[in-house]
Amino acid sequence: MNKIVYLIFGLVVLAATAGAELRGWGPTPVTEVKDVPRTVRNNPGSYRPHYTYFGSSYRRGK
């Protein structure tokens, strides 16, 4: 690999590392939802999370 190409590659890696740390990016499978009703706080049972445990397997929610 060319030295210049490697330098550019390395700088991209450093930038990605800094960005990942600053923004908190990571590989954890977390589902972000955008339409959570405000009423959940008053009625927690009404919310169906995207991950629910049924017996021995995980099933995606609604």
């Binding site: 330098l7 590392t17 990942a20 740390e21 600053l22």
Partner: protein, 646 residues
Amino acid sequence: MTERTAACPNCGAEIEFRWSGAVQTSCPACRSVLVRHDIDLTRVGTVGDVPPSMSRIQLGTEGSYKGKPFVVVGRIIYEYERGHWSEWHIRLADGTSAWLSDAQAEYVITRQVENPGPLPPAGSCRAGQSLAIGGARYSVSVVTHALYAGVEGELPFEYWDKLQVEFVDLKGPGEQFATIDYSDATPLLYTGASIAFEELHLTKLREESPDSGARVTGVTGLNCPQCGAAIELRSGQLAQTVACPSCTAILDARDPNLAVLEKHQTLVKRVAPLIPLGTAGSLGNESWQAIGFQVRGVVVSGVTYYWREYLLWNEQQGFRYLTEYDGHWNDVVVLKGVPRETSAGDRPQVEYNDTTFKHFQSANASTFFVLGEFPWEARTGDQVEADDFVAPPYMLSRERTPDEVTWSLGTYTRPERIAQAFKLPNALPEPRGVFANQPNPRLGAARSLTTVFAFLVLGLVALFIWRFTSARDEPVFSQGYAYSAETGDTAAFVTPVFALGGGTSNVKLSIRTNLSNAWAYYNLSLLDENGGRGYDVGREVSYYAGVEDGERWHEGAQSDAVVLPAVPSGRYYLRVALDRDPGAAPFSYSLAVERDVPRAWPFLAALVLLAAPVVAAALSSINFEYSRWRESDHPWSTSSDSDDDE
């Protein structure tokens, strides 16, 4: 003081002395050899026909050595197996004299050493032998038995009635040179150094004449006595052997009739040189002409490995070689000095020009085919002991015969450089495999990447330190809970609202339990107090332990943590829904939330990514070296090889 002129006692011609210390001179008119006794000249003999010389040095030639002007005043000519060579007697401006040896376009200036101490007796030296003389260590490079062939001009001693003379040439560190002259009962030692033709700044040289033999641009034409084909002698009198380009008969170039030495070359099929003989090219700032070609080879484990050698000729520089094996070329010059032999463990090595050369291979090299002319008696079947030492891109080679040891230095040269130098119409074949002194192209890449890698790692460390010192790493929520099977309390619940400050960053959710031989599954949702945005994650915590066959075991863990990425600042709460092992005993757990937690793994991942190209380049470089040494006498061994050996 003696007179500067005198009359020849034989013919009366005026004899002019260029050097006041001359003991012997010759009359240019009647060719009498005259010995001076004080003011009298005595005729002691007659100079025979001086052999024709292709050297442009002559009596009266002027030059300089180490800044001291000199003039050539005399000459002794010897004949040996490779033809003639001249010892020119030179008078320096400071009144001293020295000898300028001129053999096969190689020049050495020596002076006699007074009281040199004990010298080995005649006939006792062997090529390659190490000698300590006058505090210096020399190696015998060649033992020559020469025939006296004539004298000219002024000499510092009487020298006109010799027959066979033994000379032992010695080479020392650098370009130091010495020779032991056994022409008298007491051997004489001369020491000095090799010198390049241009460093002598010679003037008043003999004019080139059309029939003087070799010039790079001149050719002496002859015909093969076997097939009648035209033979060209480009190096003139230096040529000892010439192989007919048509029938490949090997001819004696010293014989006016070109006596046939070898009728047919049968060891290998005729090989066409890639550089046609007669082609002139430029190497460095000098013009060289290809005049000889030979195929040589070594036999290893029953397999013959052939390479090709081209003999190049330049009138002032002498000879030079190009070698080619599987497309790998080397530009080879004969060393004027002798490398210092050392060893590393049981492996020999040599030092030359502050460079260590590792032993690569030793073998008996044979000549299989020759074409063109050579300054030695080239024959098929000629054998030498060859030892190669490498320090890419250089290779030192030692070739030994019973009478001579020759060191040469090869420099790896790309084929396109050769093609360009000789203006070859077609591209030369690309190199195949890895050659002994081929520069490792991957080594440079690995080294340059390593330098960049070091800078990048420094940047990464700086980034790491900055991150771990500037992160908020802030606990924002922590609460303990209890679960009891009796209550069956698995309903979802929410935590109090907590604030996540700063910019968009991660959030770490931690679960700690005292579960034992049970599991629990946590549906966790980090939800914005005002609705809309939320993050769902499911985590299982399970811990089992026991004793089996007297050994304790456990699996799982009583705690868990997860980092939610890129959560904007705001006010949030956790919705918690717990699924549990139906048979679980009552247990307690706690939930904790931390904001902007620094993590080490992204830095470790970055380090791995940065190191990957460097490691790949290093492995590639190592593989190249492995391939190089696999062909040597010292292949790299693996542990399995060692096991096999055992």
